[in-house]
Symmetry: C2
Subunit: 336 residues, 2 copies
């Protein structure tokens, strides 16, 4: 019995900001599983900034999405048919075939999750890839040390909000930037940041000088551009930067201006280190133990922006994500 | 008996490119040494790009030069009076009081050198601070590994020429950039570089793509600006950059444009690490053993640009250095 559902295809490669016409809603049949496969009815899917890069036809660390095929990305769903050992109907799994109602998934790309412990969407956010990205970037890539003052940009987002809270839970002074007064209030009032600013209020160089008058030791970069310039400006000698993303550049049609003060990296002995979370899956057990415990104990706030409306709502959700409409992790509810 | 000599004072802080009027030649008496001091008659002094930064009134890793006082920097001279244990008249010493004919030097800032082993100027170049900078930056900061393809900018300069030759002696493919056809020929014909380009021939991004079609693993940056953009562009995954200097920015009166492709650092997992040689003096013994042996065996070519004309020639020499007039280490002969 094949499964009939809807999925989102890439109709055109976006130029600059994605448009709804770059996407297409398609009816598709999903065949019965073959040996080693499962069929999943998706409940919730992720929209992430990195997906914008995959919509370009450019060589990168992940291959580009193909035109006229379903997009992909993190999703959690219920197994409706299985011919794979260890998976049974009714299991809930995390996998990489989002943007569709029904997905056929090779079992090696699926992992069972426990929705008694945490709701499905958590495995796309604080307990999933964004959480691990925050954990690895802060602790391993930036090499967080006692006494470090931490600055994180995109601090109200899925990754940034976890970066800041891990640093606070470890006793650090934390400064964040975000894109609205409401987000800034969220950082200070709900997440316990020591200082935060709205980057619309002036040049980040000036705003960070005011927010961190004694300078910063660690910068977790989700934004790039003038935020990176600000972090270099305020960096103390020996500061370490974890370069995780550059959302300011993702929709750019012209190369964005780079930081004009790179020469300061020499005298300040700065280290800028780019990283990709998939190189660090070995840290998953330590991450789950530490962050999972904090979440269970209510010490971490993981706000979500849940978009209702089914899979057809995903393109607009993604466009809104790149505009900063989310606070915390943004997911699209496909079914319940 | 005091010593009478001439010295170069900083008359004004340069705006942009230094002018001769920013310097002043002054007659000065040097008093007899006190306990723990020596008086040195300088033979040869160094001009180095980093001195440009010290001419600004800006906080940096070394304090700014003071107006209406003698400039300073590496010099080698002969002891003419000593009240310090271990130093006798006739000893030749390396110290930090250049830009003058006679210098009174606290003994702890002087180190004896052997001019039988190598001429005095060598201790300002290949066997001195520039050589150690090359050694530490390439091996420790960039972490040179077997098989790495190395790109060095300012490759015909005091530091860059040693970087390239150390990499070649260790069996690497080496690409260099320089500022004239003569320098490019020197890199290829005399120093054994595998490829080299004159950055006046086009945008460095394009020139480096042609010179290193398979990409680079290590970049030793003496230039900054569009050279850094080129290195990011051609970097392979996991490439490491040693950020040593940014001569393209030193005379800038406006902040120079930064690399427009910093976002590539994420997907390529690049590491950019600034460094200052004075943090690495513990590597001096290993450096002297390895590089000293190569120099002795004639395996390293260390061309010098020696400016005659005495201490009064130093300001023009420094201006010319920033314009790239030198090949290899530039020194000013003060006396013989």
């Amino acid at each position: 019995m094949p499964y009939s559902g809807r999925e989102i295809h890439l109709a055109a490669r976006p130029k600059g900001e994605p448009q709804l016409t770059d996407f297409r809603l398609v009816e598709a049949d999903v065949a019965d599983p073959q040996d080693g496969e499962i069929v999943v009815r998706n409940l919730v899917m992720s929209v992430d900034p990195y997906m914008r890069g995959r919509m370009n036809d450019a060589k990168s660390y992940v291959p580009p999405f193909k035109l006229d095929e379903a997009l992909g990305g993190g999703a959690v769903g219920e197994v409706v048919a299985s011919r794979a050992e260890g998976f049974a109907e009714g299991d809930v799994v995390l996998h990489d075939r989002g943007w569709r109602e029904y997905a056929k998934v090779p079992a090696q790309y699926a992992v069972k999750v426990d929705t008694q412990l945490a709701p499905a969407s958590r495995y796309l956010g604080v307990l999933g890839m964004p959480g691990l990205t925050a954990y690895v970037g802060l602790l391993d890539v930036a090499g967080l040390r006692d006494g470090d003052v931490v600055f994180v940009s995109g601090a109200a987002g899925a990754v940034g909000s976890i970066v800041g809270q891990i640093a606070k839970l470890r006793g650090h002074t934390v400064i964040g930037s975000a894109g609205s007064p409401e987000k800034v209030a969220h950082l200070k009032d709900d997440l316990g940041f020591d200082a935060a600013f709205d980057y619309h209020d002036g040049h980040p160089v000036k705003l960070l000088r005011e927010a961190a008058p004694d300078g910063i030791d660690v910068y977790f970069d989700n934004v790039g551009g003038d935020h990176l310039e600000a972090a270099i400006d305020s960096a103390k000698n020996g500061a370490r930067f974890a370069l995780c993303g550059a959302i300011s550049a993702y929709n750019a049609t012209e190369p964005p201006p780079g930081p004009r003060n790179m020469f300061l990296c020499v005298g300040k002995r700065l280290r800028l280190q780019g990283f990709i979370v998939s190189d660090h899956f070995d840290r998953q057990p330590a991450f789950v133990e530490e962050v999972g415990a904090w979440l269970r104990d209510g010490k971490i706030v993981a706000r979500e922006t849940v978009v209702e409306g089914g899979v057809e709502a995903a393109p607009q959700a993604f466009i809104d994500l790149l505009r900063g409409a989310n606070t915390g992790k943004m997911v699209v509810q496909i079914a319940s």
